[in-house]
């Protein structure tokens, strides 16, 4: 089939409870984002349109955020039913993110700092989206790397599921192998066991990697984490792993 005769793919960008930073990262692409939109039929993206949500099948649905309210869950299930391909976008949707930190504190305790009367406030355990629905692909990061979104979105539009290269953050880090490397300085950094693709943006800005893009597959983080415990105590390392929802992934 020729390109011209091909129908544009229907794309929706949907937000559950979230900071919406991943959507803002898309807006930050500026003209590049609007050029991308010309290649698809955007059926939902609440920051830029107010049309009613479409009925029927949607080729690709991108979902950001955590299902916290009943309505969030309803939306998630509804879009899963309508989506041919469901892509989760960002650390909250993929790994539970910052909101998951409350799971480690005892969620009844956490909410009491804010509201004494907790009636009528949704306070579920925070879980990754793949606990509720089947996920076809994940765009990692907190926030997502917007150029990476474009790259993977193109592949998704072509009807394929992308594969994220299995390289560590260190492979993109300017401090790899030199004296500025956090690990060489005996400071914990998760770079070696986390997916690259962010351009090692945190180490580049003098912050160690806290792993928002998730563990690389086919490796057991446990051994590496043991090494880190020689630099900082276990409680601190555990706290580090709680920030971006990694702690509950360690079996």
């Amino acid at each position: 089939m020729h390109n011209k005769t091909m129908k544009k793919k229907k794309v929706a960008i949907v937000s559950l409870t979230a900071c919406e930073g991943c959507q803002v990262a898309l807006l930050d692409l500026g003209e590049k984002f609007f050029n991308f939109l010309k290649k698809v039929e955007l059926v939902d993206f609440h920051l830029l349109e107010e049309k009613p949500f479409p009925k029927g099948k949607i080729d690709i649905v991108f979902v950001e955020g955590n299902p916290i309210t009943d309505e969030d869950l309803k939306i998630l299930k509804k879009v899963r039913n309508q989506a041919k391909t469901l892509v989760v976008m960002g650390n909250c949707a993929a790994l539970g993110g910052i909101p998951e930190m409350k799971n480690y504190q005892g969620k009844e305790k956490t909410i009491r700092y804010i509201y004494k009367n907790m009636k009528d406030i949704a306070n579920p355990d925070i879980k990754e989206i793949d606990n509720f629905v089947k996920v076809d692909f994940t765009i990692p990061g907190c926030p997502i790397t917007n150029d990476e979104f474009l790259k993977y979105a193109e592949i998704l539009i072509a009807g394929k599921i992308p594969k994220i290269p299995e390289k560590p953050v260190c492979s993109e880090c300017p401090y790899r192998g030199n004296e500025k490397c956090y690990l060489r300085r005996k400071e914990p950094c998760l770079g070696p066991i986390i997916y690259a693709g962010c351009g090692a943006i945190c180490p580049k800005n003098e912050l160690p990697c806290y792993g928002c893009r998730s563990f690389l597959p086919n490796l057991s983080p446990k051994g590496f984490l043991k090494t880190l415990e020689k630099m900082k105590n276990k409680e601190e390392i555990d706290n580090d792993l709680e920030i971006f929802g990694l702690k509950d992934m360690i079996k």
Binding site: S15, L16, T17, A18, C19, E20, G21, C22, Q23, V24, A25, L27, D28, G30, E31, F34, L42, H46, L47, L48, E49, E50, K51, N66, I68, T69, E71, D72, G97, I98, P99, M101, K102, Q105, K107, K109, T110, I111, R112, Y113, I114, Y115, K116, N117, D120, I121, A122, N123, C142, P143, I201, C202, K204, N205, E206, L207, Y210, E236, N239, I243
Partner: protein, 425 residues
């Protein structure tokens, strides 16, 4: 009769609207509803470490993370009893200006403007205003590039920390960002022109305005005083004694001052700090009032004009950016941050986020971890005022067809530029 809007698109986070009006036009019930869940960021921070606070607090909001981080840093510095360098202060003002530009321009062009032309999709808006949209994207990009140069990233900046920045921006990068200044300046005038010539709906209600206050400038990156109505308070007094958080409508707190609603954001800042506003911006406001045949007080009785005020503020912030970069380029580069020892203490930060005064309070416990934390966001403060305005608006549009009524309600809600992600957090 009920008027319900289940989801108001083109606002940050999920908001809706519900109202019930009697046959005689009496408002029985009216509220801005909230669709966002409670993430409990304040609760999450209790027991956490000082250095990770900026990381967590940033995630309250994807459109104004810079404001949340900087204000948390300022509060923690007070708690730790450290004073950041002059360089840090300049850099903070620089990215606060850039934050206001990027947030206002996104709101004005992509969220608010379509209301005035009854357009439901920005792809159509971009077609209709092709020249303007290109200009606004460049203007927004000007702000984003500065946040990136200083903060390392636009959404959830990386470098700000208590004591300063983990890294000082490269002077070359700052210089480079100024290269597009003229273009951004032109774009801001184009945007002002667009918003100057819109037909704003009528609204007449006396409002109490609240913002950071200074006799000598137009303060936004740190507030030393706060002005509400005719009263001036220290931020501590305002936070501890003057405002009340109503917890009856979870998951959003609704904040009141002496039991009454108040307005924040661009219109409040222009009202309260008129003398500090730059000359060019002042002239534009005066010309607007003259063209619309509005007396000063009439202008400030209609919060639809908040959008126009945002456009004016962009110009002010642009010129401030130029001044700050030129100063930074001239001055010798200082240490990126002041070192601190974690110790118990408490501190409050006040900063003007794009949507208004943000108050962030932190207490550090004996164990060196966060013991208490309270974040009062602009949207939580102005939600009640928005509802009060809507109560005045609704009877004036009772004879309009339903779709026009809905459009008008949405237009006012969007003029306030609420961020429900912030309000709930």
């Amino acid at each position: 009769m009920k008027l319900i809007i289940p989801h108001i698109h083109k606002t940050l986070g999920g908001a809706g609207f519900f109202s019930r009006v009697s046959q005689r036009g009496e408002i029985k019930e009216l509220r801005v509803t909230v669709l966002e869940g409670l993430r409990q960021i304040e609760g999450i921070l209790i027991g956490r470490r000082i250095f990770e606070t900026p990381l967590v607090i940033s995630r309250i909001c994807g459109i104004c993370p810079t404001s949340h981080i900087l204000n948390a840093c300022a509060a923690l510095e007070k708690a730790l009893n450290i004073t950041p360098s002059l360089q840090t202060d300049r850099l903070r003002r620089l990215i606060t200006s850039a934050q206001i530009i990027q947030s206002h321009s996104a709101h004005l062009f992509f969220m608010s403007l379509s209301d005035f032309f009854n357009i439901d999709d920005d792809e159509k808006l971009v077609e209709k205003f092709s020249k303007e949209s290109k200009a606004v994207l460049k203007l927004r990009d000007f702000g984003l590039k500065i946040i990136e140069a200083v903060g390392g990233r636009t959404v959830h900046p990386i470098t700000p920390m208590p004591g300063g920045f983990s890294k000082v921006p490269d002077k070359q990068d700052l210089k480079k960002s100024l290269a597009n200044y003229q273009e951004a300046h032109q774009a801001s005038l184009l945007l002002i022109n667009l918003f100057k010539n819109l037909e704003y709906p009528e609204l007449k209600r006396k409002t109490v305005f609240c913002s950071s206050y200074s006799e000598k400038d137009y303060p936004y990156h740190k507030g030393e005083k706060i002005k509400i109505g005719d009263n001036i308070f220290s931020p501590d007094d305002f936070f501890s004694n003057q405002v009340e958080e109503d917890l009856k409508t979870p998951p959003t707190k609704r904040v009141t001052f002496q039991g009454k609603s108040y307005m924040l954001g661009a219109i409040a800042r222009i009202k309260n700090n008129w003398s500090g506003l730059n000359q060019g911006a002042k002239l534009i406001v005066q010309e607007f009032q003259k063209n619309k045949q509005l007396k000063q007080e009439e202008f400030f009785e209609n919060n639809f004009y908040n959008s126009f005020c945002q456009a004016v503020e962009i110009l002010h912030c642009l010129e401030q950016i130029k001044e700050d970069i030129e100063l930074l380029l001239k001055e010798k580069t200082d240490q990126p941050y002041v070192k601190y020892q974690v110790k118990p203490g408490k501190g409050l930060g006040l900063l003007e986020a794009p949507r208004g005064a943000l108050l962030s309070y932190f207490e550090i416990g004996k164990n060196g971890r966060i013991a208490d934390c309270s974040i009062i966001t602009p949207t939580a403060q102005f939600l009640r005022n928005l509802e009060e305005d809507l109560k005045v608006l609704l009877p004036t549009i009772k004879d309009l067809p339903k779709d026009k009524k809905i459009r008008r309600v949405k237009t006012l809600i969007r003029a306030y530029d609420p961020c429900i992600s912030c309000a709930v957090h």
